[in-house]
Symmetry: C2
Subunit: 369 residues, 2 copies
C-alpha cells in the first residue's frame, strides 16, 4: 500500500463485574482492575494497541456509571472519544454507535474492535496479527473476525468454523468462515478440537467502517435506521437525549448473531498470540507464574501493604491487598482479599462466585456487591 | 463453719501468644483476647470468680510488658494487686510471690490459683466446685488440686492419677492423689481413659497460703529463702529492684514438679463443670456453637464491621473482624482475620500455626509476630 491505512480502535468496556468478586464489584468491573499486572486491564488494552492507533484514534464504549472512572484510568484518550451507552443492548448497537462516530472523523477508517478485559500474553504477536488484519481489511470489503487456535476443549468460548483458505497477508493466514458456534458442551468442544478446523471466537473484529455499516443496514435495517438519527447530532447538546430515545427502542442483539452469521463477506484471521478471556480466579491462576509448589501470588496494590506467605501449600491462588495472608497446609485453594471482603474457595469452584453474590443479596448486604 | 473463709484469688496471666495467631501476638497473648465472647479471657476469669472473691482479694501475676494492658482490661482490680514478674520462671516462683502478697494481707487466707486463659462452660458448676474446695482447704492442711473427668484421650493435657477416696465436701468428691503425669502419648492417653482413674490436670489449685508456703519451704528451700527477702519489702520502693535480683537467681520450676509431686498432703477435687484450655483454633471450634453444617462463626470486635457468609461449606471456623469473609465450598477449614493478617489452614492443622510464625521470622516480617 502506498497510502497508510487510517486505523481506529473501538474498545468495548461496558461489562459488569461478578466473576472476580470481591475485587470486581458492580461499580468496579474487571476491566477497571489490575488483574494481571499492577495496571488496570483497560489501561493495558489501550497501551497494547497504541502502535497501531494513537489515543486520538481510540474510542471506548462504556456505561454511564463507569465513564468517569474509565476517563481517569486512560486520561490520554480525548473525553469525546469515551462513548456512553444509556443502557447495554449487546454488541450490535454498541458497534454501530462506535462506527458512526469513527466514520464522522474519517470515512476511510479501518476499525479494530477489542474487548477491554482480555488477557494477551504476546504483545508482539498480537500487533503483528492486527497489522496484517488492518491491511487485509483496507484491501478487501470484508468483515474480519479474529480466531485463535484452541489449546483445550474450552466450554466458556464461542467457536468459529474455518472455511476455505483465502490467502496470506503479512505471513498470517486468512480463511473464509463456515459457521459460528455458541459456547459448546464439553463433548462438542472435544469434537471441535479433534476436527481441527474450529478456532476460538475472540470477539475481536476488523473492518472498514463503511463495510460494517453497510452490513448493519442490510441485516439490521431497523437498528441502522434508528442509529442514523444519531449520526447527525454527534457532538451536539442533543446527543444524550437522542441516544436515550434510540437505545430505549432498540432490541439487544449481538454483532455475531445479527451480522457476522448472516453476511457473506466474512473472513477470519488466525491470531499469532496467546489469548485468554480470563473468566474466573481459576483462569487467572492458569496464566500466572507460580512458585515451585504451583502457588500463584498476586499483590493487589502497587506499593501496598499486602504480603503473602504459603507454608506447605500447593496449587493456590493468593491475592493480598492490605493484609498479610498466610496459608498453611492448603491445596488448590483461592484466597482473595479485595477491599472490605475476602473470598476463600476451592480453585475449581471459583466460577461459582455468583452464588456468593446471590447470598449477599438475600441477606441484604448490598454494600459488598 | 461459723467463720467465713477469707478467699483470695491468684490469676496467672503471663503466657505469650502464638497458638491463636494472627489474633494473638507476642504483645497481645491469648488472655487479653476476646476468644470466646466479646470480652477478653482475663475479664471473664476475673468476673467468673467474683462471687467467691471480690476484686480487692484478686491478684494477677503477669509480665512487665502486659501489666499495663491487663490493668486496662480489669480496672476494678487495685493496681497494687497486679504483680509483675521481672522474667518468667514457671509457676513455682510465681505462686510463691502471690502467696507472700496474700499472706501479708491475711495470714488465714485460702488462696485459689487460676490460669487466665481457660474456657469454662458452666459457671455455676465451677463456683460450686471452688466453693467446696475452699471449704475443704480451710478445714484441712492440704494442697488441693482440681481434676476434670476426661472426655477424650487428650494429649495436650497433663493427668492426675486418683488415689483413695478422701470424702465428700458440699456434694463434691475429694481424693488423695496417687501420681502426676506429663502430657501423654496418644496411646497412653487412651489407656488412662480406659483405666478410668485419671483426671485432667487443670492447673487450678486451692490451699491456705500458710500450707503452701510451708510446702515451698520444705521442697524448694532455696527458692523459699530468696522469696522471703521479698516479703519484707512488698509495697516499698525497693520492691522492684529486689524482685529483679531474686528472679535473676532463681531457677524456673513448675509447682506441679517442684511441690505437688513431692508433698504428701495433696488431694484432688473433682470439677463439676466443662473445662478446656483451648489451645488452638481447632479447640475453639470444638467448644463453639455451630450452624447446621457445623460452621462456627466468631465476630472479633464488638460492633465491628466483620461479617461472615458460608456458602456450601461445612465444619469451618471463621472469624471476621473488619471484613466480610465469604467461604464457598470449603470443608473443615479455619479462616481467621486478626488485625493486619489472615490465616487459612485445615482445621486439623491449626496447631501448626507456630510454623507460620517461624517462616515470618525467617522472612524478617517481625511486625506480624
Amino acid at each position: 500500500m502506498a497510502k497508510r491505512t487510517p486505523v481506529y480502535v473501538a474498545i468495548m468496556a461496558g461489562g459488569g463485574g461478578t466473576r472476580f468478586w470481591p475485587v470486581s464489584r458492580e461499580k468496579r468491573p474487571k476491566q477497571m482492575l489490575p488483574i494481571f499486572s499492577r495496571r488496570s486491564m483497560i489501561q493495558e488494552t489501550v497501551e497494547r494497541i497504541h502502535p497501531l492507533a494513537p489515543p486520538d484514534n481510540t474510542f471506548i464504549i462504556t456505561t454511564r456509571s463507569q465513564a468517569e472512572e474509565i476517563q481517569g484510568e486512560v486520561p490520554a484518550i480525548p473525553k469525546s472519544n469515551i462513548l456512553v451507552e444509556p443502557v447495554g443492548r449487546n454488541t450490535a448497537p454498541c458497534l454501530c454507535l462506535a462506527a458512526l462516530n469513527i466514520q464522522k472523523l474519517n470515512p476511510e477508517a479501518v476499525m479494530v474492535v477489542l474487548p477491554a478485559d482480555h488477557y494477551i500474553a504476546n504483545r508482539k504477536g498480537f500487533l503483528q496479527t492486527l497489522r496484517a488484519a488492518t491491511v487485509f481489511a483496507a484491501q478487501h470489503d470484508f468483515l474480519l473476525t479474529l480466531g485463535l487456535r484452541p489449546t483445550g476443549p474450552e466450554t466458556g468460548y464461542g467457536y468459529i468454523q474455518k472455511g476455505e483458505f483465502f490467502g496470506q497477508i503479512k505471513g498470517t493466514n486468512v480463511f473464509r468462515t463456515q459457521s459460528f458456534r455458541e459456547k459448546p458442551t464439553r463433548q462438542k468442544a472435544r469434537s471441535y478440537l479433534r476436527q481441527g478446523n474450529f478456532l476460538w471466537n475472540s470477539g475481536m473484529f476488523i473492518w472498514k467502517v463503511g463495510v460494517f455499516l453497510q452490513a448493519a443496514e442490510k441485516f439490521l435495517p431497523q437498528l441502522y435506521e434508528e442509529m442514523l438519527t444519531i449520526k447527525k447530532i454527534i457532538g451536539t447538546r442533543r446527543e444524550k437525549r437522542v441516544l436515550e430515545k434510540v437505545y430505549a427502542r432498540c432490541q439487544p442483539i449481538s454483532v455475531d448473531y445479527g451480522i457476522m452469521e448472516k453476511a457473506q463477506n466474512v473472513a477470519m484471521i488466525e491470531g499469532q498470540f496467546h489469548w485468554d478471556d480470563v473468566g474466573s480466579w481459576s483462569a487467572l491462576w492458569n496464566i500466572r507464574s507460580k512458585d515451585q509448589k504451583g502457588n500463584a501470588y498476586v499483590l493487589g496494590k502497587p506499593n501496598g501493604r499486602g504480603k503473602i506467605l504459603a507454608v506447605d501449600s500447593s496449587g493456590c491462588l493468593i491475592r493480598a491487598e492490605k493484609k498479610l495472608i498466610a496459608v498453611l497446609g492448603m491445596k488448590d485453594t483461592v484466597v482473595v482479599e479485595g477491599g472490605d471482603a475476602l473470598l476463600v474457595c476451592p480453585r475449581e469452584r471459583s466460577q461459582e462466585v455468583r452464588g456468593v453474590l446471590e447470598e449477599l443479596k438475600k441477606k441484604g448486604w448490598k454494600e459488598y456487591l
